[in-house]
Symmetry: C2
Subunit: 323 residues, 2 copies
């Protein structure tokens, strides 16, 4: 049931012990964090269907992480992150297509079940927070964190806080990249995701070459071997990403741009050309540092843990407010 | 030397008496605000060449506004707004092309000359602040204010504060609109300004029709009369604006989009089609209210006055910090 992968980041520093969970469409990642900030091995559990079943699974995981006792964990709070439209101030998942959820009061359900304060956060904003506090964006006053996988999502981190826009911000994958492009499943035309997501890269390559591929990784490898269809599809993706980022640089001038998600496993082979194209597109704008994400695939869990700690601190400080 | 136009907004409410100035490439607009928040008639003075001459002119204006005594003004602070790249936290104008300024420590110069605390702000962020506090964006937690004139600039107002990005934010006119488009004077290719600014509309119409025009207004009128070149140029501008705004809606989900600047004098004839096209381009995104600016051409002066009042309050509260 669980694989124990070590996240690239293993230490958060001293603070509250918390439990952190990243609820994805296929699996729940979970980890305990102790008072010294050691992050337990991340456990992976298949995601059951429906919010009630997920809440029950999380209750099981809370017991499992306590019983295993790899670290001395008495969590003060629980941090959860979820994909979709997440209203963090209210702890409500407005809409999560790959969970099939709509208007789920996840915070209230979990607090009732667990008897602990719970923070609910968007998964990419959680990952962006992790990159900002202890990852690639550490030390930059502002950063745009872009996650490129099946979809594309972003988060602007301002003074250490990812901007949420009531849960609607960061949908840069559903911003028009090619007005003459194809219709996106979201209903809009020419979304960045239709050109530059990992799934779009695979799909577009197959459409151009007639060759079926398992994913963007194969397209990348084919491009490296000189396959012209693969090279063209990959180049289109990089250009569309660079244009999308350039527009956000013009509007928000982030000090750093951090590229994460599955596609970013290509490392400098993606980030290098992206940096070069972006540089060509800018003029007097403040040029951001373009960096690969450092918190890896468990960034969501790490960010959820940080938010849970912030919540515990705020509650102890008597602020009472939600982070 | 001065025309006395009444701004659409004449009252700020009770607070400190302040002096407010909007330093443009051709003229300085200035107004006194009394403790009841009455905004004096806005005075217009030609902008002299160079920062020292502008500082001297502002000192003269401070005396003139006191002497005229239309309102009982003993300013507690002075608010100034300027075009270009303005670092508000330091009170430094990094670069202002139409003033010919580079790295001008305007706040320090003015505080020494006037013996009063001075706030220095970007002109469009000042206008956006005015729209947010007492104009079209009043009551919305977040708003994107877009000023369309000779150039195009924007400001995202979050919780009542325009986001400045160290002075580099808001350059939405220099975000790529057409990657295959013309080179912009800024050095980048296909900037929104090359399609949708008032000057671009006039220039593109002349290029298409061979007919010289005095400005975008004539193109708009020609389009209304059925001139196909004018209609096409105007339609391209509206589409490019809608796309640029749609991208920012995807990324930041502002509650309202406020359209101001010279081109916005077309009113609903601009805002109506813009709203309709934007609506077509969005899917699950949070749809903003698309509104015409209400503070008019003196919005910069009004915003500078608000910032000057905020500064005076902060100083009195002992915060000592700059707003």
């Amino acid at each position: 049931m669980s694989r124990t992968l070590r996240p690239p980041v293993r230490l958060l520093g001293g603070g509250d012990a918390v439990l952190a969970l990243d609820i994805g469409g296929t699996q729940i990642k979970s980890a305990a964090v102790d008072a010294d900030g050691r992050i337990d091995a991340v456990r992976r559990t298949p995601t059951p269907w429906g919010p009630e079943a997920v809440v029950a699974a999380i209750a099981d995981l809370a017991r499992a992480h306590a019983r295993r006792n790899e670290v001395d964990l008495r969590p003060r709070s629980v941090g959860v992150c979820v994909p979709g439209l997440v209203d963090e101030s209210r702890g409500v998942v407005r809409y999560a297509s790959n969970l099939g959820w709509q208007d789920v009061s996840l915070r209230r359900m979990l607090e009732r079940e667990l008897g602990l304060p719970v923070s609910v956060q968007h998964d990419v904003r959680a990952a962006a927070l992790a990159e900002s506090r202890i990852g690639a964006a550490y030390g930059y006053p502002s950063a745009l964190v872009v996650a490129i996988g099946t979809g594309i999502c972003g988060a602007l981190v301002i003074d250490g806080t990812p901007y949420s826009g009531g849960g609607y911000a960061g949908e840069i994958g559903h911003a028009v990249a090619d007005p003459q492009g194809e219709r996106c499943p979201c209903g809009a035309v020419g979304c960045l995701e239709t050109i530059a997501s990992a799934s779009a890269i695979a799909r577009r390559y197959t459409a151009a070459s007639g060759i079926a591929v398992g994913g963007a990784r194969e397209v990348f490898d084919a491009a490296q071997r000189g396959d012209r269809h693969a090279a063209a599809v990959w180049a289109d993706a990089v250009t569309a990403l660079a244009q999308g980022i350039a527009r956000l640089v013009a509007a928000f001038a982030p000090h750093a741009v951090v590229v994460g998600g599955g596609l970013a496993q290509a490392g400098e082979a993606l980030v290098g050309p992206l940096r070069a194209e972006l540089d060509q597109m800018l003029s007097f704008h403040r040029r951001p540092f373009v960096l690969s994400a450092r918190c890896g695939e468990d960034a969501g869990v790490v960010g959820a843990a940080i938010t849970a700690r912030d919540l515990a601190s705020a509650l102890r400080a008597g602020a009472g407010g939600r982070v």
